[in-house]
């Protein structure tokens, strides 16, 4: 424990935090964790709560797995990972039920589905199993926030265009409606989430040519 006297926020560690926001975003580049990302994005509030829940679950389980990485035999690692994640998710679920009951009702099964959210498993496999707790913690926070950012962007557009509100507040004034503006009901329906994410991917890749796929 002497060789790496790295400062806590060395450039390598900062990169762990910022990389997932753009170049290796879990949703648009690594294609992990799409499942829950799309269904909860009708309104910003549930999307935000789910993003926070994922940040907590991911940071803690990354640290736990990283601490256990030398003691867990590789053959049973998947079960160990699932148990750690499931235990964290149960905690988060109980807290949500206690303090934010209406949001927890809206999220319905999607809190439970954090367990099978592939980013968490994916990052545990790819990063936490071979790194020290502190970088693993940063990696967890970084990836979960990269996920949360996309969630909130999608939710923002769907809520704004679909119901004319942001975080439940009316932002499109009444007078615009009197002119004949209508909320786009299609945005509330599930398929539009996919198309919005498709558009985000398009914009991101148009700006960042090295992400373009060949086929």
């Amino acid at each position: 424990m002497s060789a790496e006297k790295e400062p806590l926020f060395s450039s390598k560690n900062i990169k762990l935090l910022t990389e997932p926001m753009n170049d290796s975003n879990p949703i648009t580049v690594q294609v992990l964790g799409i499942c829950s990302a799309l269904a909860v994005t009708v309104k910003i509030k549930p999307a935000f709560v789910l993003a926070i829940a994922v940040v907590i679950v991911m940071a803690v389980s990354n640290v736990v797995i990283s601490l256990l990485r030398k003691t867990v035999p590789p053959r049973i690692r998947i079960i160990v990972q699932l148990v750690v994640i499931a235990a964290m998710v149960i905690l988060v679920d109980q807290v949500l039920k206690a303090f934010l009951f209406d949001v927890s009702k809206q999220l319905s099964v999607f809190v439970g589905l954090i367990i099978t959210n592939c980013i968490i498993m994916g990052r545990l496999e790819a990063f936490a199993l071979s790194n020290k707790p502190w970088p693993a913690f940063l990696d967890g926070i970084g990836n979960a926030s990269g996920y949360g950012v996309i969630l909130i962007i999608v939710a923002f557009f769907r809520e704004l265009l679909g119901s004319g509100t942001v975080w439940g507040f009316q932002v499109i004034p009444e007078s615009v409606y009197n002119f004949g503006y209508e909320n786009n009901g299609l945005m509330i329906l599930p398929p539009m989430a996919l198309i919005v994410v498709g558009a985000i991917i398009w914009i991101q890749r148009a700006k960042n040519k090295k992400l373009v796929e060949s086929n």
Partner: protein, 206 residues
């Protein structure tokens, strides 16, 4: 009775389609849908796993976990509620079922086993499977036959969706798509359009 089962089955295939209505199982749906052959294999595996796990989890939910479920052991347990354990138990059931399916496929179809590769173990973390069990719990089906119909129906719906998108992706390889949209982007948009098409089933009253 029979009519009711058919209703639940059709509803879970078309109206409450796992992919188009709830986006469950998207990760493997996007990753494995490059060719029709592999996606057919994965789709069948999903039908199989869902068809088994949903009824098993139904029994576990109703005879072990829900409030008052332990009465058959002793009336003392009437107000024991273990449902907070359901996540961990469901995932354990799923993980062991997946292991079983993996062994069966390896035995009977080594080519399929090789082409599915890493994605078989990933069924364990396929949200469609856990989602199936959680929806079963939330919707409170009356008996095990209904739960089975729901499980098989959701599996079939997932199967249809992945085979459909794989067929489209095989064709689309020859079309001229803007570079940044190639691959992932266009797949998302096609899935969205397929979802809109599937919404046409929503008007059906069952």
């Amino acid at each position: 009775m029979m009519e009711n089962l058919v209703n639940i089955f059709v509803k879970s295939v078309f109206i409450d389609n796992m992919i188009f209505a709830y986006f469950l199982g998207m990760c493997s749906y996007l990753a494995v849908s490059k060719t029709v052959k592999t996606s057919t294999g994965l789709g069948i595996a999903v039908i199989f796993v869902l068809g088994f796990t949903v009824p098993i989890d139904y029994l576990i939910h109703n005879f072990l976990l829900r409030e008052g479920a332990l009465v058959w052991l002793s009336p003392k347990f009437a107000d024991v509620d273990l449902s907070f354990l359901s996540f961990i138990i469901f995932i354990a059931v799923i993980a062991s079922m997946v292991q079983l399916v993996e062994m069966i496929i390896e035995k009977f179809s080594p080519t399929l086993y090789n082409s599915l590769g890493i994605f078989l173990p990933l069924i364990a973390v396929n949200c469609a499977i856990l989602g199936g069990s959680l929806f079963m719990q939330e919707r409170d089906y009356n008996n095990i036959a209904e739960a089975t119909a729901f499980g098989l129906g959701s599996g079939l719906g997932w199967f249809l969706a992945i085979v459909g998108i794989a067929a489209i992706r095989e064709k689309i390889r020859y079309s001229n798509i803007p570079d940044p949209l190639k691959g992932l982007g266009i797949t998302f948009i096609i899935t969205g359009l397929m979802g809109i098409a599937f919404m046409g089933f929503m008007g059906i009253k069952l």
